[in-house]
């Protein structure tokens, strides 16, 4: 992951390459750096969502999670989510970074940042992005809990499922 430019503290950059905004990495995530990657001088708001590994799930005491991704498709899916969000919130800029490998309790598994001139679009685009990540990103969590392990399986990924996309839009308004 790129080191943190200090856009949040006032040094702006207009260099927003796709590769830096959408990433899959084994490195610990840096929410401030992800946020900085989408902020420009016209932005009045940047929202960040940080997904964390929690210590319980479905009545089980979780010990750690192993995340796996189909990396090139995950990156292009994040780009797709950015493009989808741009159709609804054209002024918002998104970044999505997902971590893979073994993550301990409390560590960040995903960081999403959305920047916009006004807060409403930033909040909405950020929420939309995490809903879509859960629907269509080729990423899997292998939960290790007290007494065993299990692959968590959620949605069948289908980016062309318009009903799912509409559901994601509805959750943002």
């Amino acid at each position: 992951m790129a080191t943190a430019p200090s856009a949040i503290s006032g040094v702006y950059t207009r260099t927003r390459t796709v590769s830096r905004r959408f990433a899959v990495t084994t490195d610990p995530l840096d929410a401030a750096a992800v946020a900085a990657s989408v902020v420009t001088p016209e932005c009045g708001a940047v929202t960040t969502f940080i997904g964390l590994v929690r210590d319980h799930n479905a009545g089980r005491r979780v010990l750690w999670l192993d995340y796996e991704a189909y990396e090139p498709l995950a990156r292009s899916t994040f780009e797709r989510i950015g493009a989808e969000a741009a159709t609804r919130w054209p002024s918002a800029q998104l970044a999505i970074h997902h971590r893979v490998g073994r993550l301990e309790i409390g560590e960040a598994s995903v960081v999403i940042a959305a920047a916009s001139p006004h807060r409403a679009d930033a909040f909405a685009a950020c929420r939309y992005a995490i809903e879509r990540v859960k629907q269509i990103a080729p990423v899997w969590k292998h939960e290790h809990f007290e007494g065993g392990d299990v692959w968590i399986e959620g949605a069948t990924a289908n980016p062309d499922d318009e009903a799912a996309q509409q559901l994601a839009f509805r959750r943002c308004t």
Partner: protein, 81 residues
Amino acid sequence: MHVTVRLFARLRELAGVSELRQELPDGASAKTAWESLVRTWPALAEYEPAISCAVNEEYARFTTPLKHGDEVAFLPPVSGG
């Protein structure tokens, strides 16, 4: 023709491999590749209603025709975030 098949998460564990080379007849689709996998590893069959596939790193339909050298990936239901 030969294609490269990639398996992820529990599909990978059920098959015991993450990547394999598969020989398929000309005109084969992603579905043909999946059916061949299920013949080798019948335990994969339970996933048939729930999987997605990708061809050359893009989401694709099971009817997508394959060509020599393609990479076809089968994806169990996702759980990122």
